[in-house]
C-alpha cells in the first residue's frame, strides 16, 4: 500500500528580492516497509521537503502540489489542526543536532514520558505514570541504551550526541509511527556511532515494518541501507529508482558525478590520481539558472537544456534529462 504519494510539490518563499522557488515540481512516493533515500548536496531542498511533509514550515513558505496523499488522504485540503493530528499520529522525525532538539531545562525522563501517547497505554489512567516509566525504559532498551536509569535522570547537556540521537529515536518510535523521517541523522556523530545508528534504523524497519525516509548527503551510507533512492539538485528531482540499479547505471549526469566523487565506488582508482568533481559551484537561491538547474555545470549540456526536462520513466527508473547517459556500457 502506497504510504506517501507526492506529485509536483513546489515550495516558494517570498523574500525582499521577490519569489524564490526552493523546491521545483518534486515527486516522491513511499511504500510500506520501504527505506527510501533522499540525496542531494546542502541547499538542494531535501530538508525543506521533510519539513513540508511533517508540516513544521513557518507561514512564509507557500506549498503547492498536484497531489499530496498520505495513506490515501489528501493533506493539503485538510484543515490545519486535523492535518496536524494525522501527521502527529503517523509520522515521526529526527533532526541533525539531536542535543539541540531536546529541551535543555527538562529531564530526559520527562521529555520521554511526554512523547508516549496515552492511547497506547493499557490499564487505568491512575497508574499511567508508572506505565509510562515502564514503557520509557523499554523504549531505551530497544534503541540500544543499556544503563537507562542514569540517562533518564540526566539533562540533555550531560549526554553525548550519539545517546541524544538514540533518545530522539526512542521518542520517535514511542507512538510506533508508520513513517520515520531521518533528516541527516548522522552528520553530528562520529563514524562508529554512525554505523551503529544506521543498523538500528534498518533493524527497526525490518522488525516493526516502519518505513523510513533517510535524508543524507553521504552517498556510501545511503547506498548500503536504502531500497530506493531519489537524487535532488537545487530543488529539482533529477533521478530516482532502485538503489542498486541506479548506482550501477546512473542516467543523469549529476548522479553519475555524485557516484564518481565517492572513492569507495571506484575500486580501480590509481593512487594520487585526481578525484572527479563537477566544475563550478551550487548557485545561490536568488540566482538559479533557467530550465535544468544543472545546466551551466553539466558536462553534456546543450541548447535544449534551457527548458526544464520532464520526468521520463524506464520501468521503475525515473530521470529528468534531455540527454540521459544510457548509451554508456554498464561498469
Amino acid at each position: 500500500m502506497l504510504l506517501l504519494d507526492i506529485r509536483n510539490l513546489t515550495l516558494e518563499l517570498e523574500t525582499s528580492q521577490g519569489l524564490i522557488r526552493a523546491v521545483d515540481r518534486v515527486s516522491l512516493s513511499l511504500r510500506e516497509g520501504e527505506i527510501r533515500g533522499l540525496v542531494g548536496e546542502s541547499g538542494s531542498g531535501k530538508s525543506l521537503i521533510a519539513k513540508a511533509i511533517v508540516g513544521v514550515l513557518n507561514q512564509r513558505w507557500r506549498i503547492k502540489a498536484d497531489r499530496f496523499h498520505w495513506c490515501g488522504v489528501d493533506l493539503l485540503q485538510l484543515p490545519f489542526d486535523q492535518q496536524r493530528k494525522i501527521i502527529g499520529r503517523d509520522i515521526a522525525m529526527i533532526y541533525q543536532e539531536p542535543s539541540k532538539c531536546l529541551d535543555p531545562t527538562a529531564l530526559i525522563a520527562e521529555q520521554l514520558h511526554e512523547s508516549i501517547p496515552n492511547q497506547l497505554l493499557k490499564g487505568g489512567w491512575w497508574n499511567r505514570a508508572r506505565q509510562k516509566r515502564k514503557k520509557a525504559i523499554a523504549l531505551l532498551h530497544k534503541v540500544g541504551i543499556k544503563e537507562h536509569q542514569s540517562v533518564l535522570e540526566s539533562y540533555p547537556y550531560q549526554l553525548s550526541e550519539g545517546v541524544c540521537q538514540k533518545v530522539m529515536i526512542a521518542m520517535a518510535i514511542a507512538k510506533n509511527p508508520k513513517l520515520l523521517i531521518a533528516d541527516e541523522p548522522t552528520t553530528a556523530l562520529e563514524a562508529s556511532t554512525q554505523a551503529q545508528l544506521f543498523r538500528l534504523i534498518s533493524s527497526l524497519n525490518q522488525l516493526k515494518g516502519m518505513s523510513v525516509l533517510l535524508i543524507s548527503n553521504e552517498l556510501d551510507s545511503i547506498a548500503r541501507y536504502t531500497h530506493r533512492l531519489s537524487v535532488l539538485y537545487c530543488g529539482q528531482l533529477v533521478e530516482s529508482g532502485e538503489t542498486a540499479r541506479l548506482l550501477a547505471q546512473p542516467f543523469h549526469p549529476y548522479t553519475d558525478a555524485l557516484i564518481k566523487s565517492v572513492p569507495e565506488f571506484q575500486p580501480d582508482l590509481a593512487p594520487k590520481s585526481q578525484l572527479y568533481a563537477l566544475p563550478g559551484s551550487i548557485p545561490t537561491l536568488q540566482h538559479l539558472p533557467v530550465g535544468c538547474r544543472l545546466g551551466p555545470r553539466c558536462p553534456n549540456a546543450r541548447k535544449e537544456c534551457v527548458h526544464t526536462p520532464a520526468l521520463e520513466r524506464k520501468q521503475h527508473h525515473f530521470y529528468s534529462c534531455h540527454f540521459p547517459l544510457q548509451y554508456k556500457e554498464p561498469q
Binding site: 521577490g18 524564490i20 522557488r21 536568488q286 540566482h287 538559479l288 533557467v290
Partner: protein
C-alpha cells in the same frame, strides 16, 4: 522563474548598510529617529531660538494660559508661569538641560563603561571574576540613592547629579559590553587572529571592537532613555537643577503648587519628557530588532 538580474548588484553589503536597511523598514523607529534629531537640534541651538529670555519675569503677564485658550495671549505661545516667564522659551531652554545633559551623561557612561567592560572582558582568572562580580554588585546601588549621597557630600546641583547618574548607568554598560566581548572571544576568527600571533591589544583593536559597536549603540540608546528619566526625576525632587533653572523636571515640581489653577503648566514639561524618552526608546527598539535581524540571516 528567478528574475534574470545582471546589473542590479547590491553594491554595498557591509553590516552598516544592512542594519540601516532593516532599520528603515520599521516606520516607528524612523519616526523616533526624526524626533530624536529634532530634540538634539533644540538642545544644541535652543538658547538661540527662544522668543524671550527664559528667566525674564514679566509682572503683568502672570499665569497666562496657552495661546489657543480664550484668555491666552498670542505673544506667549504656550502661556507663562506664575512669575510671568514665557513657558515656550523655558521649555526650549529645558531641552538643553534635560535632553542635552542626558546625552552628555550617557556618552560619559558609555566611555567609562567601555573602559571597565573591556577590562572586565579581557582579564582572565581570579582577577576577572572578582573584578566584574564586585563591579556588578557594588554598582547596582539605585541612582536616586547615589544622587542623595553625592548631594549630601557636594550639595545639590546639576553637575553633582550627573556623576550620580553616570555611576548608576555603568552596570548596564559594563554588563552588556562584558557579555559581548566574551561572546566575541569564543568566535573562531579571534582564535585565527591569535594563531597569527596577534597580542591582546591588536585583537581588541581590530577584531573585537569593530564587532561590538552594534551592541554599543543599543546599550547607549537604552542608557540615554534612563538618563533622561533620572535627570528629570532628580530635577523634580530638587536634588538636581536648582531654582531658577528651566529644567523640565524642576518645572513640573514648581508647577505642582498650581496644579488646580494651571494644569497645563504641569502637562507641558511632563509631555516633553515623555516624548523625548519615547523617541529614544523607539530608536532603541528599532536598533535592537535591526541588530537581531542582521544576526539572523
Amino acid at each position: 522563474m528567478a528574475k534574470f538580474q545582471w546589473l542590479h548588484q547590491k553594491t554595498e553589503h557591509g553590516p552598516l548598510s544592512q542594519l540601516w536597511d532593516s532599520f528603515r523598514q520599521q516606520h516607528a523607529a524612523v519616526v523616533g529617529l526624526m524626533l530624536f534629531g529634532f530634540f538634539s537640534l533644540i538642545a544644541l541651538f535652543g538658547p538661540l531660538l527662544t522668543p524671550y529670555d527664559p528667566y525674564l519675569q514679566n509682572p503683568d503677564a502672570l499665569l497666562l494660559p496657552p495661546s489657543w485658550d480664550d484668555l491666552g495671549d498670542v505673544r506667549y505661545l504656550l502661556g507663562t508661569d506664575d512669575l510671568g516667564r514665557d513657558q515656550l522659551s523655558r521649555l526650549i531652554k529645558g531641552a538643553s538641560y534635560t535632553f542635552g545633559i542626558a546625552l552628555v551623561t550617557a556618552i560619559g557612561a558609555l566611555l567609562f563603561g567601555l573602559l571597565l567592560g573591556v577590562l572586565a572582558g579581557m582579564s582572565k582568572g581570579f582577577r576577572a571574576s572578582a573584578f566584574n562580580h564586585v563591579l556588578d554588585l557594588a554598582l547596582t546601588i539605585p541612582s536616586l540613592l547615589l544622587a542623595i549621597i553625592i548631594v549630601a557630600i557636594l550639595g545639590p546641583g546639576l553637575v553633582n547629579t550627573i556623576w550620580a547618574i553616570m555611576l548608576a548607568l555603568l552596570p548596564q554598560f559594563v554588563h552588556g559590553i562584558r557579555n559581548t566581548i566574551l561572546q566575541q572571544l569564543e568566535q573562531e576568527y579571534v582564535i585565527a587572529y591569535r594563531l597569527d600571533g596577534a597580542n591582546n591589544w591588536q585583537i581588541l583593536r581590530y577584531v573585537i571592537l569593530p564587532n561590538t559597536w552594534e551592541q554599543l549603540t543599543v546599550l547607549f540608546s537604552m542608557a540615554l532613555s534612563t538618563a533622561i528619566l533620572d535627570i528629570a526625576a532628580l530635577g523634580f525632587l530638587g536634588l538636581g537643577a536648582q531654582a531658577p533653572a528651566a529644567e523640565w523636571g524642576l518645572m513640573v515640581a514648581d508647577a505642582l503648587d498650581l496644579i488646580y489653577l494651571s494644569p497645563w503648566s504641569i502637562a507641558l514639561p511632563g509631555l516633553l519628557i515623555f516624548i523625548a524618552v519615547l523617541s529614544v526608546n523607539l530608536v532603541s527598539d528599532g536598533l535592537r530588532t535591526a541588530v537581531r535581524k542582521r544576526q539572523e540571516n
